[in-house]
Amino acid sequence: MSRSDDAEALVTAHRASLIRYLARYTGDADLAEDLVQETYMRLLERPPADDRNPRAWLFTVATNLARDRARIEQRRTELVGTTSPAAPDDPARVVERAETRARVQAALASLTPRDRTALLMREEGFRHREIAEAIGATTQSVGTILARALVRLGRGLGVPTPEKKETR
């Protein structure tokens, strides 16, 4: 087995989770695929010095690549415009799904990159210790960061939050 086989096996094993995470993070499923490929190339070019947690390394690198891409995209938005939507099937369902996605993406985009990373990594099953390493925080503080992010995201999605319940 070659090194590229090993790297491919590693990325493939976490591919579905990585694409879901990146699609949520960026709001662009095609971009998520691009970023998975860039992550794979980064794995080959500059593998981590610390090999204790390759899955966390993949997600951290993918997050950094997504942030780099977002900064670049922000600078050139006016030149290129937005991507076109996928081909429609049932118009009513397409509209409904598009509205739901737009709302979720807007709510996610309202979070800071740090909170978004923490929350979406939790959704992928990462432990607080791993999230802490990825966002540069203490493990103890991750619970607070996540709770705050959940409340903000919940508000953006119209989900009742503990604060709202208390005021009733």
Binding site: S2, R3, E8, R20, P47, T100, V104, H128
Partner: protein
């Protein structure tokens, strides 16, 4: 409460409740929190509220997930690039980059395969156009071009084309040691002493090109408008 309580109210904060929900507490904190929840109705309600919020947010995220990308891109075509990258790194005296990956698999020692000498590597789906370069069908709206090093001189020229394929060629200078066509772009295994210039003709589907040279941040270039080419220098890290 020790380290988990709100400094003002004395009740556990949301972070502590979430640690309990996520099974992230150590034994001492868990015992302390569970004891408090047994006697504090307000915190039990809040615990239920945080847990309900967590579940509701997860559900909304799932509902809002985008469909599977239009094309499920295999990583397999990238393996050809990997071979060239690995060979290039070894030739440049770089760190033994296979060590970490090999350890993950705990398999036999990795094998390095030499790329074909001075000829482009063209995975399936692409065609080779003799010495002039390659043409291929890119995926997505962004084409990625990776040059492994800054060169002594040379340029990359982007031209808007009308075909559904992209065409890549060496327009002057010596041929690069290896060019690999990826599903999303190209990896050019040039070297720092090179002075080759490259020309890339873009199909209408490509809206932008992301050019990364060595370890520099990717530079995103919008598709050239009209027939006018876009040219960037490849010489020296200062450009």
């Amino acid at each position: 409460m020790n380290g988990t309580a709100d400094a003002i109210t004395g009740h556990p904060d949301d972070g502590a409740l979430l640690r309990l929900i996520d099974a992230e507490c150590d034994a001492g904190e868990r015992t302390e929190l569970e004891a408090h929840l047994r006697v504090c109705r307000r915190c039990r309600d809040r615990f239920d509220g945080v847990r309900g919020l967590s579940e509701a947010v997860s559900e909304r995220l799932r509902v809002g997930d985008m469909p599977v990308p239009r094309r499920g891109r295999s990583l397999a075509p990238l393996k050809a690039a990997a071979v060239i990258l690995l060979v290039g790194a070894a030739a440049a005296g770089a760190q033994p980059i296979g060590r970490w990956i090999a350890r993950l698999a705990a398999g036999p020692s990795p094998t390095v395969v030499s790329p074909p000498p001075s000829s482009p590597s063209v995975p399936s789906g692409a065609t080779r156009a003799a010495h002039a370069g390659v043409s291929f069908v890119p995926t997505g709206s962004t084409l990625t071009v990776v040059l492994r090093a800054w060169q002594r001189a040379g340029t990359l020229t982007l031209v808007a084309g009308r075909d559904s394929t992209a065409a890549f060629g060496v327009s002057d200078g010596s041929a690069p040691p290896g060019v690999t066509v990826l599903p999303s772009g190209l990896v050019i295994a040039n070297d720092s002493a090179g002075s080759a210039s490259y020309r890339l003709t873009l199909p209408p589907e490509i809206e932008r090109v992301s050019v990364r040279i060595a370890t520099a941040a990717p530079r995103v270039i919008a598709r050239p408008a009209g027939a006018g080419p876009e040219t960037i220098g490849l010489g020296g890290a200062g450009q």
